[in-house]
């Protein structure tokens, strides 16, 4: 069983994040709103890849699907009666989960495609989806859908704090639910699914059902993140759905630590804000440095850079 970051530490992280708007001002609050949602995407990938062992090279497709469904619904493009933002959030997450379930059934049914084949197939599907959206003028083509209404929080649209707090609550809820679920028997089954699927099947578990369910759950989380992102950002663009964002999410999770949820979440925050801080200083060298670190981590430290310190801290706290 994989060691868990204790509740005290994860609570401390979220409390510190909750204090941010009063310490950092509107600009950074807005930036952190977005990176927290990227963090939620990272959590979904940590679930699917880190724990479930399914290396999905196209996790962005669920983020983007959630985003586009949210944009279409709240902009009233599918009928004014369906424009309620809260309903749209749920529909967006459900659509992404449905897409993931369809892809999952297609891929895992019968003689399952696994390992490297799964990675390539998910990459191809993400590329196809991005191309379809880019060439679909009903969805805005290359420009995307502009003018998605902000979340109806009853406050000024220029106040960054309410959406930030809402997003923080959603991400925290997702994190603690996932953490609690994975520390139970389900987590053990997922570890077996990753480490020794044959033995799991021998014990009577359906690999197909567990894989599809895990993949769909990951899709739902990514779709929820995408839907909130589009509402915060004000537009849905094809870059949300394809190769680029999927690759970035992979970097966050790999650098943070694929098997430890908190490490994946912090990996997203660290890389996003590291970029904001260092890009001014390093310029174009930033991407080169990030890629090199990513390669080094993949070769020499596959557990990630944040997992070990977090678990070490956790062991100290627990004692």
């Amino acid at each position: 069983m994989i060691a868990r970051v204790p509740l005290a530490i994860s609570l401390a992280v979220f409390v510190a994040l909750a204090a941010l708007p009063w310490l950092a001002g509107d600009y950074w609050t807005g930036q952190f709103t977005r990176s927290l949602l990227y963090g939620l995407l990272a959590l979904s990938l940590a679930l699917v890849w880190g724990r479930g062992g399914m290396l999905c090279l196209g996790q962005g497709m669920f983020f983007g699907t959630g985003g586009y469904v949210m944009a279409l619904l709240t902009m009233g493009k599918l009928g004014p009666g369906l424009a309620d933002a809260w309903l749209a959030l749920i529909v967006a997450a459900a659509s992404a989960a449905a897409l993931a379930a369809i892809v999952g059934v297609f891929v895992f049914w019968g003689a399952s495609i696994s390992g490297p084949y799964f990675a390539i197939v998910t990459l191809a599907i993400a590329v196809v989806l991005e191309q379809s959206i880019r060439s679909n003028y009903g969805l805005g083509g290359d420009n995307g859908l502009v003018g998605v209404p902000p979340l109806p929080l009853g406050t000024s649209a220029f106040d960054a704090t309410p959406p930030y707090l809402l997003v923080l609550v959603v991400v925290a809820a997702a994190y603690f639910t996932l953490d609690a679920t994975l520390s139970r028997r389900i987590g053990l089954v997922l570890d077996a699914l990753r480490v020794n699927p044959n033995r799991l099947a021998y014990l009577g578990y359906s690999l197909f059902a567990w894989r599809v369910a895990t993949f769909a759950a990951g899709g739902a989380l990514a779709g929820l993140a995408g839907a909130l992102f589009v509402a915060v950002d004000g537009f849905a663009s094809p870059t949300l759905i394809g190769f680029g964002l999927s690759a970035e999410a992979l970097i966050w999770v790999a650098l943070g630590g694929r098997t430890v949820l908190m490490a994946a979440l912090l990996g997203a925050l660290a890389v996003r804000h590291g970029e904001a801080l260092l890009a001014a200083w390093l310029g174009d060298w930033w991407l080169l440095a990030l890629g090199s670190v990513f390669v080094l981590v993949a070769v020499a430290a596959p557990a990630g850079l944040l997992a070990a310190p977090l678990l070490w801290l956790g062991a100290r706290v627990r004692r």
Partner: protein, 279 residues
């Protein structure tokens, strides 16, 4: 009609040439090289760079194969060797490498696209049809290289030794073959093929830092459709993907074609995970 068919043959040969290096590495070493597209790109940029020094085109092509082959040798030595028993980490490492190569090219050459002048600007008359000579030359070179690779692996002692190391590494090592050296030579050869392909297509396409992905995905689909492991599979898969892309391109827009072909390829991979050519 004849031009359409010739275009299709050309598309197939170029795709098989691009996929060949990938197939050698994936089929024999079971290593997924996500940076293969960027190795193709590096080959094309080697030509751009050397043409700036007024090196003749065919010299650039040979240099591209050598330079990118050397890249491949280093990549195997630094990355692939250390992740051999962790295939998913090889995917990550080579993917990271693709980002590094892309960004290195952006830093060296800028983000824009470059064009390489056609080394042969003549048309060749084939009956009623005029076809660009350079395309015919590329097709001929691709056919020769593909046949050469196949003959090397099937009909030479060194090819036999290579296949032995790939099929039964432990046994081959006991019999005195140096497996490590075989692995690095194989990876270097795969990279050299990518560099060669990149250099040959450079005059036909716009050479830019983002061109790699456009080669990686079709090449992988071709390999998976045909069946990994057998070089015959690359030919079959490359023909299926390349010809359908090229022929449908006469009817539909490039985007629609890409969506349809990728979608079909994914379905074929799903229905025949072992590939078209395997039992």
């Amino acid at each position: 009609m004849a031009a359409t068919l010739l275009d299709a043959v050309s598309a197939v040969l170029v795709l098989v040439l691009v996929a060949l290096g990938l197939a050698v590495v994936f089929g024999m070493m079971r290593v997924i090289n996500m940076a293969h597209g960027e190795l193709v790109m590096s080959g094309a940029f080697t030509v751009v760079w050397l043409q700036g020094w007024h090196v003749p085109f065919w010299g650039c092509v040979i240099a591209a194969a050598v330079v990118v082959g050397f890249f491949g040798w280093m990549i195997e030595w630094v990355l692939v060797r250390h992740t051999r028993d962790r295939p998913l980490d090889t995917i990550l490492a080579t993917w990271g490498l693709s980002l590094v190569l892309k960004q290195a090219i952006v830093l060296l050459f800028g983000p824009g696209s470059h064009s390489v002048p056609l080394p042969l600007d003549a048309m060749v008359g084939l009956g009623a049809l005029n076809y660009p000579a350079y395309r015919l030359v590329v097709m001929a070179i691709a056919a020769v290289v593909i046949a050469g690779t196949y003959l090397f692996l099937r009909c030479t002692n060194r090819g036999l030794a290579t296949r032995a190391v790939m099929a039964r590494p432990a046994t081959a090592e006991l019999l005195g073959f140096n497996t490590d050296r075989t692995y690095s030579a194989t990876f270097a050869a795969g990279a050299a093929l990518a560099g060669l392909a990149g250099a040959l297509v450079a005059p036909l396409v716009s050479v830019d830092p983002q061109m790699g992905l456009g080669y990686l995905v079709p090449a992988f689909l071709a390999i998976l459709v045909g069946g990994a492991g057998a070089l015959g599979g690359v030919l079959a898969g490359g023909s299926a993907v390349g010809a359908s892309t090229s022929l449908l391109g006469a009817l539909w827009s490039p985007v629609t074609v890409q969506i349809v072909v990728f979608g079909l390829a994914v379905v074929v991979i799903r229905l025949r995970p072992q590939g078209l050519m395997r039992e």
